[in-house]
Subunit: 340 residues, 2 copies
Amino acid sequence: MSVKIKDVARAAGVSVTSVSRVLNNGDHVSEKLEKKVRRAIEELNYSPSLIAKSLKRNKTNLIGVIIPDITSNFQAMILSLIEEIAGRRGYNLLVSNIVEDTDKVVKYLNIYQEMRVDGIVLMHEKLNEDIRLFLNKTQIPVVVHADFGMNLPTVIIDDFQAGYDATSYLIAQGHREIAMIAGDKRDVCAGLRRIEGYAAACRDHGIMIEEALIRHGDYKLASGYRLMAELLREAQGRFSAVFAASDDMAAGAVNCIQDHGLHVPGDISVIGFDGSQIAEIMRPRLTTIKQPVDRISECTVDLLLEMIEEQGVAKSKGKMKTIVLSHELLEQGSCRSIET
Amino acid sequence: MSVKIKDVARAAGVSVTSVSRVLNNGDHVSEKLEKKVRRAIEELNYSPSLIAKSLKRNKTNLIGVIIPDITSNFQAMILSLIEEIAGRRGYNLLVSNIVEDTDKVVKYLNIYQEMRVDGIVLMHEKLNEDIRLFLNKTQIPVVVHADFGMNLPTVIIDDFQAGYDATSYLIAQGHREIAMIAGDKRDVCAGLRRIEGYAAACRDHGIMIEEALIRHGDYKLASGYRLMAELLREAQGRFSAVFAASDDMAAGAVNCIQDHGLHVPGDISVIGFDGSQIAEIMRPRLTTIKQPVDRISECTVDLLLEMIEEQGVAKSKGKMKTIVLSHELLEQGSCRSIET
DNA sequence: CTGAAAGCGCTTACAG
DNA sequence: CTGAAAGCGCTTACAG
């Protein structure tokens, strides 16, 4: 049915070896041979099979990406940058958007392994026994976006420090009653670490931590709205500021506050996290912890490709890098300073 | 280096045929043979190569998706739904996010073809000669999201009617001076068709179309902001309402209007397009044309898989379906009726 | 129920 | 510079 290298060879009157050579333009071939081959390819509309090539070369030029939520602007940003950078370097992306289902994560890790992807980017931050096992066993280079404490190549920011900075900023503005719309504690970085940073900042400034002021969401807008509604219902007047672990949740919180007839930052100050597009859209714009999406994406691809391309040279499982990138506090209009 | 089916066969003391059989659990194998094989697989930590399998079976279970902008919430929504639905049916997604570069589109179409994906979803709406040629020649099932007038399987809404509806709605609210923040005319549906719908509605209601009130953007927030700034600078007072061809542009327009100290809908009414999350986030919420993202995604996957799975039975290139889904006008707070 | 062998479409030493 | 042949890791008639 479809035309294969043998057909091209026959049409051009040369060997398949020669066709392969002009296709991969490595070794020298004579001009007229090349011309004959190119013409045959053209005429037969030949499309070489990367499947066969991958099998033979033991290399697919595929990178698998497992991402929790593409509809989050922050994650979409990273995905699109990774796609672009990897694309320029000859790699294509296999992507799985896995919402909240840890079992599906290992299912897809295994599929990627069976597909013989050259590398994997894992953006999920929740570990279970199966995932841990996979990461320990697999021969495939994996870059993770969370500190799992298991000596894996990692690209992250310092979420503890970032949580600390956000909270300290609010404190410096005179706030002493600060609620937190946090993530899931099982998320190592975006969840747990940011909460720890918040708690440490409170502690360091002699502020009692009130459990009732800490709520846990899923980083999405709707949960920010819902949790803020709870806070207003159950604790109104007991906090003057809120630290949200994502811009989406911060935006949901702002919407909720405004829908209750209150003002941001007049009545309640809100600080977000990520520095995604939504921070610019909101009015007031969100003050937020900006993550360096471009650096995160670059470093992720660089690190992964370095491992992939090194593999031939030496299976240097030894030098596992952890790259910690710096965040930045972006001061916009959603926080105000209050008299102490 | 890595363990292959032959190693498993040897370890289990059976033939590779038998190992293959238990792997694909089709034909009957005796319980004890199966047990031996499973144990060997377990012990050797065997991961079968989908590459080899694909080559043999001539099927990759891969779908290539070419998408203009993942960071658009609307498109991210569709992508994530397609991923989920296709995933449930055993297909994985190869995705390329190609911003505005038509040459790259055909480059990736060719790569997908070489990778022998089972099907392709093309979301770009701009055609060039190379793309047209590819679509005409390829044997791979492709579903497109725009009416290219070339008898391809298509899933769309009626963008003309939707543009007509949006504009008529504004007219029914008493507006007679309506600006449009449109897309690129070379985008067959989201661009051209929506503009034609706008123009037809104006015409049908005896409204002169003023070219200066039609601006062309790229569907993103920033361009909506910029174009609205232009409109305010060059034509303020000459329009009381704006129809934007995407919610993102509508949001940018609203931001711009508000940043100029004006009010939506008090001073200017704005209607958007897509029904994406941003329409819910804005205050006021955006009145918008809501596209049925779930239906679009479902139909896309259904149609594509139908073609893929039919191929064996009959190469029914004949019955090319075009599925037109219905949109809906979602009335929220960004338009007001004015006295005529 | 089980196995030996051909073949999927390429690449790559090896020899000339 | 060019080609014949082995082999990548599977599946699948075919035979028993």
